[in-house]
Subunit: 366 residues, 2 copies
């Protein structure tokens, strides 16, 4: 049997087992359908830009329950193809029928890479965004659909996407360190007991165990809906994507060098937060009447199911207002699972005019 | 892309993704190595029956960290093959080396179905038991190893296994019903809001959502370490397995009809608990000097990481001491994933001489 690391070439059925099955549950669909920020943005994008939909053909990529396909039809589309890889396609079909749109919306169970449409489309609509935008690598499928099925003057919903980062403070940094230390202490007990009761010396595994736990507690990004006052420095766009033009190569890796100035008075730099926004602007030749934004930025009032991804620093350095951070950020897909991400994040700090030595961090988005 | 239900024929890499990866973490190994009931049973089985190991060849199927292989070597084995499918094999190899047993224990990374040994073995040792014994279907691999590599007079560690059931009482029945009802109420709110705010009638999904939630909260077995006083009737062996003789056909399904008498005075029949024990008895021609038992029965003093599987009844009927239950139990493997189980459990109750109508239940071990 093959080992996981040999599975670099993506096997479709392994991918299905790992990834798609989650989306086969109505419970999970409901969570996304209850995300008001997400729902309002797509709803307004469609209904405030009906000119993009009236008498047009639309393709919904990864349709899930089919809500975007239904809205597209309600906004006046002539024909909507709703492609969904999981069994959720059956529910989407029921929903389309119950809302009397079966003459307009055609639900197709299958992956968009394999699908064969009878025509090209005017609009591709898709809610493809994962944590920190690119986790899940679902935009690959949207790109594939666009290159195969979008008319030359077609528009993308959303049309643009951006990734953001900012330095933050958070008590998480202490909690995670505490959990990590407890786990390591617990292991030491275990080693002693196994030697004492069962005559086996397991101490050779202390290093790999510690590394495993370090990765889990300290080096894996954490989902949070942060409060805006946890942001302690200037926020920065690290990546911009034009959904009409981006290639898979453009999004396979993200490299960014940026500066951020500390704005908080006296704080700890506990880590960085990463989030995204997308915009619905139509295209140059066929712009939106009302531009709509969907943002997952830290907000006092609204959380989203995406939240923000928190990348912690251990230990968290003290920072003062006016300190400057120079950050090198590099994200690529995990070799074991192309839907997960690995990040190299290093930073240097200029404190009272003095440049401190660089600090390197490895972070995993699991 | 194929749907999950088309994946009935087991694809090895899908299976690996679904199943084996869990066992690649030391954290998970540690949980099993900290299960004192499990550890003591195997330790005593080996060291109180050294005659089975001294100068013998041993095969450890699904060796994990390699602890059973190491004990076998420490008990005097001439040669031990430790076969492990996951990357844990590397750690097993380190452990063997650190305990100076690399001249005896050979760790082989691969599945036991594919492995090629240079000789047949005197002993097959394996900790293959899943929840309610058969979840994970790992005994299939042990049977395969036995048929290919065990000498005619070889012995199996363990040699026998039994599945047990008993009627129980448990507050879980109320908790799960409460969670289920809350989830359904919440859905009703969601339906109203989606209609009101977004103009889509989702009520056609109420039935499948309710079924999905019913399955999750009410029809999926629950892991628990029960207190013995939660058992309210006679306990029954529903399946006996001779590890030396059993075929995959013998364990693919489990059918049992049995009676149990209520022994508690005035109680509710909240469901049934299922657990297992295994014995280390050697073989007829080569018996153990000390028979060892590993039991996962409800115990005041010891829990195991296996616990018991609880199959709840909704609603739970009132029962009196002396009531008789006639139970029909039928378990088969899930079509979607052969390592999971589906159970049909029906019962009739004889109450004060009167036979009540049968009640049927579907239960999933996920």
């Amino acid at each position: 049997m093959g080992s996981t690391s040999e599975a670099a070439a993506v096997d479709k059925r392994v991918d299905f087992a790992n990834y798609f099955c989650t989306y086969g549950f109505l419970y999970h669909q409901k969570e996304m359908l209850c995300d008001r920020v997400r729902m309002d943005a797509y709803f307004n994008a469609v209904f405030q830009n009906k000119h993009h939909f009236v008498d047009k053909t639309v393709l919904d990529v990864g349709a899930g329950s089919g809500i975007l396909a239904i809205w597209s039809a309600q906004a006046g589309a002539k024909k909507v193809y709703a492609v969904e890889a999981t069994k959720m396609a059956e529910h989407a079909r029921q929903l389309v029928e119950a809302n009397n749109l079966h003459n307009v919306v055609e639900v197709i169970e299958g992956s968009v890479e394999d699908v064969d449409l009878p025509e090209k489309v005017d609009v591709i609509i898709s809610e493809w965004m994962g944590y920190f935008l690119l986790r899940e690598s679902m935009f690959d499928s949207v790109i594939c659909a666009r290159d195969r099925w979008l008319k030359p003057n077609g528009v993308m919903y959303p049309s643009h996407a951006r990734m953001w980062m900012a330095p933050i403070r958070s008590g998480l940094v202490d909690q995670q360190m505490k959990d990590y230390e407890e786990s390591v202490d617990d292991w030491d007990c275990f080693i002693n007991e196994t030697k004492c009761y069962y005559g086996v010396d397991m101490s050779v595994l202390t290093k790999p165990y510690t590394e495993e736990q370090r990765k889990y507690y300290l080096e894996t990004s954490i989902w949070r809906n942060l409060h805006p006052n946890q942001i302690i420095g200037t926020t920065v766009v690290i990546k911009e994507i034009d959904c009409l033009k981006a290639t898979v190569n453009d999004i396979r890796t993200v490299h960014a060098s940026f500066s951020s100035s500390i704005t908080a008075e006296n704080s700890r730099l506990c880590g960085f937060a990463g989030w995204f926004d997308v915009h619905f602007r139509g295209s140059n030749t066929n712009p939106a009447q009302q531009e709509i934004e969907l943002t997952t930025t830290p907000s006092e009032d609204y959380g989203t199911h995406w939240g923000q991804q928190v990348f912690l620093l251990h230990p968290p350095p003290r920072v003062q207002q006016g300190d400057d951070l120079i950050v090198n950020f590099s994200m690529c897909r995990s070799k074991e699972n192309h839907r997960l991400m690995e990040i190299d994040l290093s930073y240097e700090m200029k404190q009272s005019g003095k440049l401190l030595p660089p600090v390197k961090n490895k972070i995993f988005i699991e």
